[in-house]
């Protein structure tokens, strides 16, 4: 069970960390000053959540979070591809953030009651932040979806292309059935149903149509796009040049 729990914690942390890094790329470039502050704060929150999950992983396996983040090869990351895609335009950023935030919302509503106490504690701590993220990204989605013809079209285009990637968030990981049986994490199919119950009506109210696309073929978290490699090259460069022994 420990191996499955470690894999699950790593997947949770990697989603948060990689998305947080992509979000941080907007710092100084968001559409307006107020949003720049808001979104940089969201990026920081996501990276903070990753740190909390990585601390639980360290308690379980002894793995040093800094080494995992700054010295791990792309093939060993376990984030969903949705999180690693380039930041794109504001429409893509908001669609991705919204679909991710909704997934966080439904999962945290369950994991606050996890039978593994550390998972319940971390979930309780990060839940208010994710509630706010959801509120923020859902408001943007509605305003862009119902905004101008251009904002609507851009949102619809991004939703059509990236809806299948969002479904990756519910791909089960190896051994997860044991964690579900133990009441440590909820079952992905139930989460996906709850998630669709949240996002489908909201997207419809935002004037957006969910595409009738099947799930992506390569859905497990071992597979990555080339974008993760460039992201890591950028993010890990300084740590790799200086080496793991350097004290900051």
């Amino acid at each position: 069970m420990n191996a499955a729990l470690a894999a699950k914690l790593l997947a949770l942390a990697d989603d948060e960390y990689v998305l947080g890094h992509r979000d941080s790329e907007w710092c100084g470039h968001a559409p307006i000053l107020e949003e720049d502050i808001a979104f940089a704060n969201i990026a920081q929150d996501e990276i903070g959540h990753a740190a909390l999950w990585l601390n639980l992983l360290q308690d379980l396996t002894g793995n040093d979070p800094d080494r995992l983040i700054f010295f791990r090869k792309a093939a060993d990351w376990r984030n969903a591809q949705l999180c690693e895609l380039p930041k794109g335009d504001w429409a893509f950023t908001m669609i991705r953030q919204y679909l991710f935030d909704a997934a966080e919302l439904v999962r945290l509503a369950e994991t606050v009651n996890s039978t593994y106490k550390p998972v319940a504690e971390v979930s309780t701590k990060i839940r208010p932040e994710e509630l706010y993220h959801y509120r923020h990204s859902s408001n943007w989605v509605k305003r862009l979806g119902l905004g101008t013809e251009e904002s609507h079209n851009r949102m619809q285009t991004e939703l059509d292309e990236f809806w299948p990637y969002a479904l990756q968030l519910f791909a089960p990981i190896a051994g997860e059935e044991d964690l579900i049986a133990e009441g440590i994490v909820p079952a992905p199919p139930a989460l996906q149903t709850a998630w669709e119950g949240v996002v489908r009506p909201w997207l419809a109210d935002s004037g957006l149509k969910v595409p009738n696309s099947a799930q992506l073929a390569a859905i497990n978290r071992q597979h990555h796009t080339e974008h993760l490699i460039t992201l890591l090259a950028d993010m890990q460069e300084v740590a790799r040049v200086e080496g793991p022994e350097v004290k900051w």
Binding site: E34, I37, A38, L131, R135, H136, N139, R143
Partner: protein
């Protein structure tokens, strides 16, 4: 063409026994987004209980100098309904305490009439600036949203600007430079 979103004045309430006070302003397309921007820009830490946002265009303002120079309220259409107006004052010029704070309400048919009423009702204090706005122009953060809006800030570490001792350090640097 001006492509800026409208400007909103932001008021925050930090403690139950403190009045709402002006934190600054944000741009936003509507009241709900103004509340979110206000939250992100001004109250990510340390703590906040409630926020007000008001379209800046709805605030009528007069300084003490303008009043001394002579001011008479414009005549109001007598058929306009009487409604509550909120009264705000800037009561001090001290560098660390230059907030415009909410001091109370008056009933009036216009902002100008509200100021005339406030000058009588709140007479006797030294006031540097008066702000008036109709109560209906205010959008208040929803109490049900407090967990998402304000709880995260409470567990985040922060430092007051004074921590960095910029003023004293600059003074020392200048002193050394002049020696």
């Amino acid at each position: 063409m001006d492509t800026q979103w409208p400007r909103w004045e932001v008021f925050e309430k930090e403690r139950p026994d403190w009045p709402y006070r002006n934190a600054g302003s944000v741009h936003a397309p509507d009241a709900e987004m103004a509340l979110e921007n206000a939250r992100d820009v001004f109250v990510r830490r340390p703590r906040c209980l409630s926020l007000w946002v008001v379209p800046a265009s709805q605030i009528f303002t007069k300084t003490a100098q303008e009043l001394v120079a002579g001011w008479e309220p414009e005549a109001v259409d007598p058929t306009r309904p009487v409604e509550p107006y909120l009264v705000f004052q800037k009561q001090t010029q001290r560098a660390t305490e230059t907030f415009v704070v909410h001091v109370g309400e008056v009933e009036a048919r216009s902002s100008e009439e509200a100021l005339a009423a406030a000058l009588e009702k709140f007479a006797g204090r030294s006031v540097f600036v008066w702000w008036m706005c109709p109560a209906r122009a205010i959008t208040q953060s929803d109490e049900a949203d407090a967990a998402a809006m304000f709880t995260p800030a409470e567990s985040k570490p922060y430092r007051h600007p004074q921590f960095y001792k910029v003023v004293t350090q600059l003074r020392e640097i200048k002193l050394k430079a002049s020696e």
